[in-house]
Amino acid sequence: MKAPRALLFTGLAIAAYAAQAHHSFAMFDFEKTTEVEGVVREMRFAAPHVWIYVTVKDPAKGEVDFGIEGAAPNTLLRAGWKRDSIRSGDVVKVKVHPLRDGAPGGSLVDITVNGKAVGGAR
């Protein structure tokens, strides 16, 4: 069976946490998945976990800096990511498990960059 790419990637993101999480993810609400869309301000492809900061336009609050925690770099590299798979200025759609406390951030579930899944070379 060939898995749809989106599903594959969803699986990747979650499995990645499981494979390399060095701390608890209890601050994220795994019962909820929300989607944010915006422009990448900064990508920190670094241990222990990658972080993607996205500027999101919020109708009520204006521009909001949204922090997304991903997996460990090694896990993502083994799954086909590159250090520059996501760059500043990229337009991204991101599914996250949001922070429980309502702060603008979440745990990465799935991301598309300029309309494409991340994973292979760019």
């Binding site: 699986g11 060095h22 701390h23 608890s24 209890a26 795994f30 770099p73 090694n74």
Partner: protein, 300 residues
């Protein structure tokens, strides 16, 4: 006595903590099948764990004991003993993570209270820091429970090198005393000897700490005894016995299973403090403050 089992095929939920595990189990099951080849995971039932009764240990759930093969098929070192060199996957349960509140760990009351407080903090979405979340070290026994590690085995010494946390553990096999000058450390002092084809390792001089990210506390008097044996050339079992005169009311036995990674698999760099900004892990909080005073020898 039954022992608690931590299989390397059963733990794709490890490393994630949350109150309601049901939906995550399913997500991760899909992830496991597609990407991390965790064959038993899809079938992993959501059954509650049995409670421990007396010294009957709870069974953590599905696991896959490896198929035994004759020792003649193992790689051997120049001392004629099984050569444990290789890259091994311990699973991702992180000793006891998601499931640990469902296991009856024989903690004494003070230590059970710390654990309960830390589990509640996790349930409240505000996990308390530990030595791993603050990028310090797994230490023993946690190191031997998690992720990918490389064993470099010479007859006189075994080195265990983890990917996550970049930790190096030295196990002295030369029969001489070691670490006499050292104070207590995260990894302690490990010496080992062979009983037949089983490598028996004893670890002492540990710093007090937590066995898991949920927080199972132990004192600096804990002794970890491991019995590591090759089941077949691609599988190891590590039967671990933990004794602690203040934290545990009786010896606690757990089984870790390791699976050899595929040929060509390489350990990567992991500099934990490169960018550790994860929530719930402020670097200025000392995890030691969360331990009972009895965990620290000589504490007032």
């Amino acid at each position: 006595m039954d022992i608690l089992n931590f299989g390397n095929n059963s733990g794709a939920v490890g490393g994630l903590e949350m109150r309601n595990t049901r939906s995550l189990f399913r997500c991760l099951a899909a992830a496991g099948i597609l990407l991390v080849c965790v064959p038993a995971l899809a079938a992993e039932p959501e059954k509650p764990l049995q409670s421990s009764v007396g010294d009957q240990m709870a069974d953590l759930g599905p696991r896959r004991p490896a198929k035994p093969a004759p020792a003649s098929t193992f790689p051997h070192g120049r001392d004629g003993k099984p050569d444990l060199t290789g890259i091994w996957f311990a699973g991702i349960r992180d000793f006891v993570t998601l499931d640990d509140r469902r296991i009856d760990i024989p903690l004494t009351p003070d230590y059970a209270a710390v654990r309960a407080r830390r589990v509640k903090a996790m349930d409240d979405g505000k996990p308390l820091p530990d030595y791993v979340s603050t990028c310090q070290a797994f230490g023993m026994p946690r190191l031997m429970s998690y992720g990918v590690m490389e064993f470099v085995h010479r007859p006189e010494q075994l080195w265990v090198i983890s990917e996550v946390m970049h930790e190096v553990r030295r196990v002295y096999l030369d029969g001489k005393p070691h670490g006499e000058w050292q104070e207590s450390t995260f990894g302690g002092v490990s010496t080992g000897h062979w009983e037949g084809d089983t490598l028996v390792i004893e670890t002492r001089k540990l710093r007090p700490g937590f066995m898991s990210m949920t927080g199972i506390p132990y004192s600096d008097r804990m002794v970890v005894t491991e019995r590591i044996r090759m089941v077949n050339r691609d599988a190891l079992e590590n039967e671990m016995t933990l004794t602690d005169p203040v934290a545990l009311s009786r010896p606690w036995k757990v089984m870790h299973r390791y699976e050899r990674k595929e040929p060509g698999y390489e350990i990567g760099e992991f500099i934990c403090n490169e960018y550790n900004v994860s929530g719930g892990t402020p670097a200025d909080v000392d995890p030691r403050k969360d331990l009972p005073l009895s965990a620290i020898s000589g504490a007032p």
